[in-house]
Symmetry: C2
Subunit: 353 residues, 2 copies
Amino acid sequence: MTRSHTPDMVRLGLDEVHDLTRDTLRAAGLGAAHAAAIARSITRAQADECHSHGLYRLLGYVDSVRSGKAEREALPVLARATPVVLRVDAKRGFAPLAIEAGVPALIEAAKTYGIAALAIHDCYHFSALWADIEPAIEAGLAAWCFTVGQCCVAPAGGTAPLMGTNPIAFGWPGPQDRPFIFDFATSAAARGEVELKRRAGEALPAGWAVGPDGAPTTDPAAALAGALLPFGGHKGSALSMMVELIAGPLIGDLTSRQAKAVENGDAGPPLGGELFIAIDPAVFGGATLAQRMSDAQELFALARAQPGVRLPSERRYAARARSAGGVLIPAGLLQEIRTLTSPHAAAERTEGG
Amino acid sequence: MTRSHTPDMVRLGLDEVHDLTRDTLRAAGLGAAHAAAIARSITRAQADECHSHGLYRLLGYVDSVRSGKAEREALPVLARATPVVLRVDAKRGFAPLAIEAGVPALIEAAKTYGIAALAIHDCYHFSALWADIEPAIEAGLAAWCFTVGQCCVAPAGGTAPLMGTNPIAFGWPGPQDRPFIFDFATSAAARGEVELKRRAGEALPAGWAVGPDGAPTTDPAAALAGALLPFGGHKGSALSMMVELIAGPLIGDLTSRQAKAVENGDAGPPLGGELFIAIDPAVFGGATLAQRMSDAQELFALARAQPGVRLPSERRYAARARSAGGVLIPAGLLQEIRTLTSPHAAAERTEGG
């Protein structure tokens, strides 16, 4: 752990990020299997400089361990509804361990039958969707995943929160070593972005939100008390409703509104489900697998050749390459994380739990 | 066929729309099975007042019969790559007959295994995606379909056409008799909308297009010579790229750019494929099927209760109810269709083919 040139940033090795996460979660009382899975998840996000899903997430995870929201020792159980529909009951534990329990079976089913689905049930999802599907993409599959986010988004034309931020991720198994993967909220902005604007005292771009009075607002506080809007007008709104349906009722799990009703208000994630779909390109007819990979590659190359165009995952892969030598973490965040395991915090935990 | 109160509109019964379509296609030389499938497709679109996919489409279909683009007698062949991956080889015929050949098998596979995919290969797709998936939705499934549209869309940040208009349709099997189904282009607007603006001498809204010089334009002619833009910035662009990948290379069919390269320039559709995915909600765990239908119903009801919110398919269902008593067709369009089967047009056809 060394100070960097920027005074308030500290350089950590990825193994330090991993161990700090694991040890902090263990000290908070989380079971070893969950602490290890979350440490892997946070380390990957931090390596890709997805700061919102990196070490920063540890604060919320610890809060949900302490509040009693997440089951500390829950062991996820994999079941097969059919050879191509898999289900993991997360038993109210955090998602990463449940995802690790389900994705290898999803990959195997998709490779055997061409298409398969995996539903993660009854979990607290706090990780990045791109990371959830990446193992399937690396195994040569195209894959999606969907989860229902915090209920704070109004349908297009409306003014009251009804839907979650409802992210969608999709990945294609190429190009080699840096596959095309996107992952975005179907709201105009993630709720965290609005919170950051509020802390920074900055106005929101037009079109992100309405206030509690239903009128368009650029005031972050008014937006948080009102509703975020979907991206892309009625089309984004339809996609948000789709995610609400397929990561909720389709798999027999909660809508964002139902999750809000059982929420304890800690700094962690809402209860809910996650849907994965994976397809093996090799199983379809038409062009050979080599030809279709080459056709996709040409598409990416032509996109990249246009000045101003960036493929969705390029920034992450550049960060990943940089991060082999370590990552920069705000000193204040590290201090906050260390405070979580201080004797005072431990005493609070004992009193609370 | 009776004149309506609007002087230049003519009221036709749905059976008249159907028979006019079938007879016009037959007179142009199209095989009976294709003419019947297209007549069903056009009649459904016209009944839902999707004018762009109703009788208006007949002009393009006839043009592609006459130009020799579409195989007049091609009989689609259904094959099973696996029990849950189905393929229909359309053999360069129009899509509606191939879709009718594949969708019942898709429904059966999804009901048996919980999830299934169907690829339509080597077809000329000119129909509305909502209509393509509606039989699966009516059978109680959630379903998607995707196809690659005409290559005229630049990726976000870019200026040159690389992707098609690449529509996405999704449907949920409720509410009863008027299920939630959306169907939209991932471009800011369909190419047809831009053409209509040009004919009307109207400016485009900002953000729809760039001109051949790469600069943003509101001039429809410049937009048609330049490129349309995706809806919703980089998120819509990522979705357009996803459709390009999954309705192209994933299933072993053409990208929009490859289709453009083999295009003969008639008024009909480009060559390509279509991907369907269907999921049976009944197969997943968690809530009962009745409970999940009720949860979705509550979501729709709460959306509709917000002033200003309309669900994607409501306008179509209202039109469908009205259309039992007949539909209004522009007299000029009817005249144009009748001209197609006049002796003069028939002579042209003989010379051409």
